[in-house]
């Protein structure tokens, strides 16, 4: 049986690809069923290992996009990097029915679980939405009514991940308040011109500081640096801001 290296919680396990969905022209969600999956908390990631016929292997980390579930199904969303080694394979070559080696879940810091009762501010830059979407889905599947807000910065309308689901989740009672911010191109008649995240956007798209929300900020390093500086300038307590950054070629998401 594959995946029998005895390493405790971080054992390599064999998963089966059961679903593929293109989120954008460059990003694909991959559903993987892992029969002995130990369960996860929103915000955690997995390692994925690809192995060539000669034994060469490459491992990358990807944030889990799906809510915790008991049926062993996990989803990751992979954005294709032009010169990536693993992301082109995962976004273009993997087929339903393929086996993928995964291990995890990993990470106990950038996490949210439904037992947390305070308001939550999510701030996503590009594919940094992935672990934050797991938090939004975790809140929904647990029936939590904790106030959630998402400020989601993307290049252009076509780059939005999970568009329909976010639309649904933000239009129900006890909903998640979603604010989109476009950096290069906006939809027609959008009130705010395209541009980088700034103080005005933080003021209109995030909870006021006196609510003492827990903030989760995820995206490319430069985005996370600007967003956290702006949150602090707006009065948010730095102790309540957790971050996850990824570099241009770092495939961690």
């Amino acid at each position: 049986m594959a995946g029998t290296e005895v390493l405790g919680r971080v054992t390599w396990r064999s998963g089966k690809v059961v679903a593929l969905f293109d989120e954008t022209s460059s990003a694909r969600t991959i559903g993987i069923v892992v029969p002995d999956w130990p369960g996860h908390v929103a915000g955690q990631h997995i390692d994925v290992r690809l192995t060539a016929p000669d034994g060469y292997s490459a491992v990358r980390s990807y944030s889990i996009a799906s809510a915790p579930s008991s049926d062993g199904l996990i989803e990751i969303t992979v954005d294709r990097l032009p010169n990536g080694e693993v992301s082109p394979y995962l976004t273009q070559q993997v087929m339903v029915g393929d086996e993928l080696e995964v291990r995890g879940p990993i990470g106990r810091w950038f996490v949210w679980s439904p037992e947390q009762v305070g308001p939550v501010q999510l701030v996503a830059g590009g594919s940094g939405i992935v672990p934050l979407m797991a938090m939004i889905r975790s809140r929904a599947s647990a029936g939590s009514t904790v106030p959630f807000r998402l400020l989601y910065s993307i290049r252009e309308p076509g780059a939005i991940f999970y568009r329909d689901e976010l639309q649904t989740l933000s239009s129900q009672g006890d909903s998640v308040v979603v604010t989109y911010a476009y950096t290069r191109a906006t939809p027609k008649d959008w009130p705010r011109p395209a541009g980088r995240i700034n103080r005005e956007l933080i003021d209109s798209g995030t909870w006021p500081a006196n609510l003492q929300a827990s903030s989760y900020v995820c995206g490319p390093t430069s985005f996370v640096e600007s967003a956290t500086d702006l949150l602090i300038a707006a009065g948010q307590d730095r102790e309540r801001i957790r971050t996850e950054r990824f570099g241009a070629t770092g495939e961690r998401k």
Binding site: R9, V10, A58, V59, E101, R108, I241, R242, A248
Partner: protein
């Protein structure tokens, strides 16, 4: 036994440098931090060494920068799997900082502005293995990379090279710092792939 990934070739170049297991090369400089980047003014900066009860050594920015500096070129290995080769730094060796410290304690906990901590055996800090670095690639260390000054312990995973350091506490027994308490390995040797505490 690994599962062969149908159609996966991977990317290998001729004469590939030897990397620790599970790492890949990058030429940019990604950042891993748990929270916001602290901004520390140099007139408030200090670095102290204490034994848990008393401060043994204390430097402010000027006295610290008057210490003999070294230029080092080292490879970096991050637990998130990127490795970056031949990075160039300027800093003060821990041998210099610990030269006048007589102790029979065997471990150290580093403390950072922003409350980050990380633990290391004292023997990993001596004999040209560790520095407090303040320049990277010839320029002042940027805040997101740990400036004004960060620990640099290149033979261990980079989370051990604490950013924004402000002091170290000598300890008799090892105990986990921030990431070590969250499931990462207590020691973190990339060549033995000591990423997580269960390994």
């Amino acid at each position: 036994m690994a599962i062969i990934s149908r159609g996966f070739a991977g990317r290998r170049s001729a004469g590939e440098v030897k990397l620790p297991p599970g790492q890949y090369l990058t030429t940019d400089f990604p950042v891993l931090s748990a929270g916001p980047t602290p901004r520390i003014s140099l007139d408030r900066w200090e670095f102290t060494i204490d034994d848990g009860a008393n401060v043994i050594q204390r430097w402010d920015w000027n006295s610290f920068r008057d210490l003999p500096r070294e230029t080092i070129t080292v490879d970096l290995h991050c637990v998130t799997r990127w490795s970056k080769l031949g990075t160039s730094w300027e800093g003060i060796s821990l041998d210099t900082l610990l030269a006048n410290v007589k102790t029979d304690l065997s471990f150290a906990m580093f403390h950072s502005y922003g409350d980050y901590t990380t633990n290391l055996p004292l023997k990993d800090l001596l004999n040209k293995q560790a520095w407090i670095a303040f320049k990277y690639d010839g320029t002042d260390l940027a805040p997101e990379h740990g400036g004004p000054a960060r620990l640099l312990v290149p033979h261990l995973y980079l989370w051990k090279s604490a950013k924004w350091v402000k002091g170290m506490t000598l300890m008799q027994h090892d105990k986990p710092g921030f990431w070590e308490g969250l499931g990462y390995h207590i020691y973190g040797d990339p060549w033995r792939e000591q990423r997580y505490s269960e390994e």
